[in-house]
């Protein structure tokens, strides 16, 4: 069937909604949100990094752009979460476009370092922007009884969701599913094939008439926008935000590690990577030591790039091919 | 003083066989031309001799005057250089970000050549005065002709007994080609070097060669008896004219 994937996506969104209504313990939504956020980050990173071969070290900068767009909007207009996410996406997308323009001549490691530099400059600027809390950060108290299209969304008794954690979880889940759909669409489109050609050899791609410049700009914009959307609810989720946590390098690292572990060639790679690594991190920080979080990322990453260079996806494909023979 | 013997050599890349049963002899002090157009296996043979590619069958040996035989077939590139074999690779393969002098000095990396570094450097500069003028210039910024001089100079820095020259004429203007080939010819005479030179410019190569081989599709299609045979044999003309 032509729209099987789309139908599955819709069913998943409905499934997420049902979960929020059935499961009572807020805590699951609390950690589920992080895993879903990482799924968006990994998927977004993979569009540029996995398909196009451009390694973005500055993912945290895009995420924080979304988060701070949201903070500015809350202070300025007191708008709801959905509006914050849309605005966060737009601004981070614009930042992606600017990054693309600024780094057009850069490839490989140079591009990676330029993105890192950009994130650090942004962090410094935000730390001086007192309107959003400056270096000290700012507390965000989510709106009481928020409404969307006339419906009361979050309220213990009368709302669609009993609390903010459920609402945030549902929103992030929806964004994750849409992101994955977009990534899959790109993968099978002219854009995806063009990016793949760029990854193999930019010169060759150019010679074959691939509009490398345009494709790169589209990819940096889409990837940046996705990260911005994922970052926008961060302030509401943490109820506090400061530059140090919003621009944390851990976001950048996870955004790279997850696709690498899952596999960078297909949309499913970042999803699997985020599910595995995200869950492992959340579980380990609960029951073991929080530092072990990072140890797990480190060890898993090293082991994977050594024994399963194409990630879990590649590993499966290989073993499937092996058994066919 | 050495003589190079290659017997029944087979070699290739992975599953692709490039050289098939190649037998060549480069006598002491002679300049031997390995002729053939592009893609016939000249460079592969050169790489085999230098140990960059391992042959799948056959042998490569250096025979010394006193009867010692050095087997190069399974030797590493380092051991081959230590045995006194230097190569001027196809495409020159200079270190573009190093200066002319540094490129030359790297040529003397071989232990036996380090002691005579100064003498050899002087020799290279006398042979190619242009290099002396551009001593501190980056190799990558020089013209094609100068780069070829540097490539030859660099190979000489290791005090080789056997010099392999792969396509010295590629990318050079005709006048420079003839100058370069003449220089290589002089080298053989003045330093008593044994030279194996791969070339597709038949005319120029046979000018200085003491004997020659024509390689076609990885096989030796013709082996001349001597210099006169190389210049006059009809086979050469047939191949040269592009049969």
């Amino acid at each position: 069937m032509k729209y099987t994937f789309e139908i599955i996506c819709m069913l998943l969104i409905v499934g997420l909604f049902v979960l929020t209504q059935v499961v009572g313990n807020q805590f699951y939504f609390f950690i589920g949100f992080v895993i879903l956020q990482y799924m968006v980050m990994a998927t977004a990173w993979n569009i540029l990094g996995g398909y196009g071969g451009y390694v973005n070290f500055g993912s945290a900068g895009f995420l924080a752009t979304g988060a701070y767009t949201a903070v500015a909007l809350i202070n300025f207009l007191d708008v709801g979460l959905v509006e914050q996410m849309v605005a966060g996406g737009i601004f981070a997308g614009l930042l992606g476009l600017a990054t693309g323009y600024l780094t057009l001549r850069l490839r490989g490691v140079y591009f990676a370092i330029a993105t890192l530099a950009l994130a650090i400059i942004l962090e410094t600027v935000v730390a001086h922007w007192d309107y959003v809390g400056g270096a000290a950060g700012t507390s965000i108290l989510p709106k009481r009884k928020p409404e969307l299209l006339g419906e009361l969304i979050v309220d213990r008794k009368a709302g669609i969701f009993a609390n903010y954690k459920e609402y945030l979880f549902f929103l992030m889940g929806t964004v994750a599913i849409i992101s994955v759909w977009v990534a899959r669409y790109i993968e099978n489109s002219k854009l995806g094939r063009g990016l793949n050609a760029i990854k193999d050899s930019e010169e060759a791609a150019e010679c074959m008439g691939v509009p490398t410049l345009r494709l790169k700009l589209i990819a940096t914009t889409i990837s940046g926008a996705m990260m911005g959307v994922a970052g926008a609810p961060l302030a509401s989720y943490l109820t506090f935000i400061d530059p140090l946590s919003a621009f944390n390098l851990e976001y950048a690292i996870n955004a790279i590690a997850m696709p690498m572990i899952g596999g960078t060639v297909s949309w499913a790679g970042p999803v699997i990577g985020a599910l595995l690594l995200g869950t492992a991190q959340q579980v380990s920080s609960l029951w073991i030591q929080s530092e072990l979080n990072l140890l797990i990322v480190g060890v898993v990453l090293v082991v994977f790039v050594i024994i399963a260079p194409e990630g879990i996806i590649g590993w499966f494909r290989k073993s499937r091919q092996g058994s066919r023979r | 003083m050495v003589e190079l013997f290659i017997k029944n050599l087979n070699a290739g890349y992975g599953a692709v066989t490039v050289l098939n049963d190649v037998t060549i002899d480069v006598p002491n002090g002679q300049t031997v031309a390995l002729l053939g157009t592009n893609g016939n296996g000249k460079s592969t043979l050169m790489r085999c001799i230098s140990g960059l590619i391992k042959p799948t069958a056959g042998s490569i040996e250096l025979h010394e005057d006193d009867g010692t035989v050095i087997d190069l077939t399974a030797a590493t590139p380092q051991e081959i250089v230590e045995a006194g074999v230097a190569q001027v690779p196809e495409g020159r393969r200079l270190f573009p970000d190093l200066t002319v002098e540094e490129n030359l000095t790297l040529g003397a990396y071989r232990k036996a050549a380090r002691a005579t570094l100064a003498t050899n450097l002087d020799y290279a500069f006398t042979l190619f005065p242009r290099l002396a003028e551009r001593k501190t210039q980056l190799a990558g910024s020089m013209s094609g002709g100068e780069q070829q001089m540097l490539a030859v100079g660099r190979a000489l820095m290791s005090d080789p007994r056997l010099l392999l020259v792969d396509e010295p004429s590629v990318g050079l203007a005709p006048i420079l080609v003839s100058q370069m080939i003449t220089k290589i010819g002089e080298l053989g005479e003045s330093r008593g070097l044994t030279i194996l030179m791969a070339e597709q410019n038949f005319n120029q190569a046979i000018r200085i060669a003491d004997k020659g081989y024509i390689i076609v599709h990885g096989e030796i299609a013709f082996a001349s008896k001597d210099a006169a045979d190389l210049r006059e044999n009809d086979m050469v003309k047939t191949y040269y004219l592009g049969a």
Binding site: A117, I120, I256, A257, V299 | R93, D97, L98, L106
Partner: protein, 301 residues
């Protein structure tokens, strides 16, 4: 006016000293990344490891931190040797070094960092040495005097010696020249009778070995904790790229430029703008001159 001159003079002096310190942090990366093309993003964390070893030697036996750095250098040489062995066999040999190699070093970064947390905890650590907390005051004129903190001076002098020694080694010895040539053409190097893998292995080990002494300087200059390496990741890469890949003297110069820029900005505009300025310089250089300030070939290839 006197105050302005006083501040400017001190900012310049501190900037140069700071630059020397930054050079010590970057020089190893200038070898491994600049000359060998190995993107060792774990380098700053290795420096922190070096700093902790200096701390351990200093707090247990009272060994001077600089001496401790020299003592730990062979250990880092071996560590670098082993890491390259894995890196070469798993990634470089199969030509898969770019993305996977990067991920490999990313993972290494976290393994070292968490190892340090498990071993030492997350507290800040300092070392004791007679020169820490002392300074050399030079009175130049009325209301103008220059104070040179000894810890920065020690860092600068050691860094300068190490950088010059490495520079001399790379330009004056046969092996050093081979190191500089190895990323340019491995095959040609083979034809010179050099084993390029051995060259890379030793050179990489040398680059990592600088983490011993560099880490010691780090803990002399500032308190350290396990995740400090991540903070310096941007700085050291910025300096190496700014200086131009493959240029050791360029790295030193770039480090001094960043040091002076940071200290002038810190003095006259406020310290919190400093990173934006140094990374602004980097970004501008990357956008308009990708080969870096002193690089020879284009970096954008």
């Amino acid at each position: 006016m006197a105050i302005f001159i006083d501040l400017l003079l001190n900012a310049l002096v501190i900037g140069v000293l700071l630059g020397g310190f930054y050079a010590a942090l970057s020089i190893g990366l200038s070898i491994t990344f600049g000359l060998l093309d190995v993107v060792n993003i774990a380098h700053p964390t290795m420096l922190v490891l070096g700093a902790f070893i200096a701390f351990l030697l200093n707090s247990t036996w009272g060994i001077d931190p600089v001496l401790a750095g020299i003592i730990s250098t062979p250990f880092f040489f071996v560590l670098g040797w082993l890491i390259y062995q894995v890196y070469y066999n798993v990634f470089e040999k199969s030509g898969a070094e770019s993305l996977r190699g990067l991920a490999f070093f990313f993972g290494l970064l976290f393994i070292i960092e968490v190892g340090l947390i498990i071993q030492f905890g997350v507290d800040h650590r300092l070392v004791e040495a007679p020169y820490i907390g002392q300074s050399w005051n030079i009175v130049i004129g009325e209301e103008i005097d220059v104070a040179i903190p000894f810890r920065l001076l020690v860092a600068f002098v050691v860094a300068a010696i190490a950088t010059l020694a490495i520079h001399a080694y790379l330009t004056k010895t046969f092996f050093g020249r081979a190191v500089r040539a190895v990323a340019q053409d491995m095959m040609a190097l083979r034809l010179m009778g050099v084993d390029p893998i051995r060259v890379k292995r030793i050179a990489f080990a040398m680059g990592v070995a600088t983490a011993g002494i560099g880490g010691a300087l780090m803990i002399i200059v500032l308190p350290i904790e396990p995740s400090l390496g991540r903070l310096y990741l941007g700085n050291v890469f910025a300096i190496v790229v700014l200086g131009g890949l493959g240029s050791i003297s360029g790295t030193l110069l770039a480090a001094v430029i960043i040091g002076i820029a940071e200290s002038i900005v810190a003095t006259f505009f406020g310290p919190s703008w400093a990173p934006a300025v140094s990374f602004g310089i980097l970004l501008a250089v990357l956008a308009f001159r990708p080969e870096g300030l002193f690089g020879k070939t284009a970096g954008a290839h």
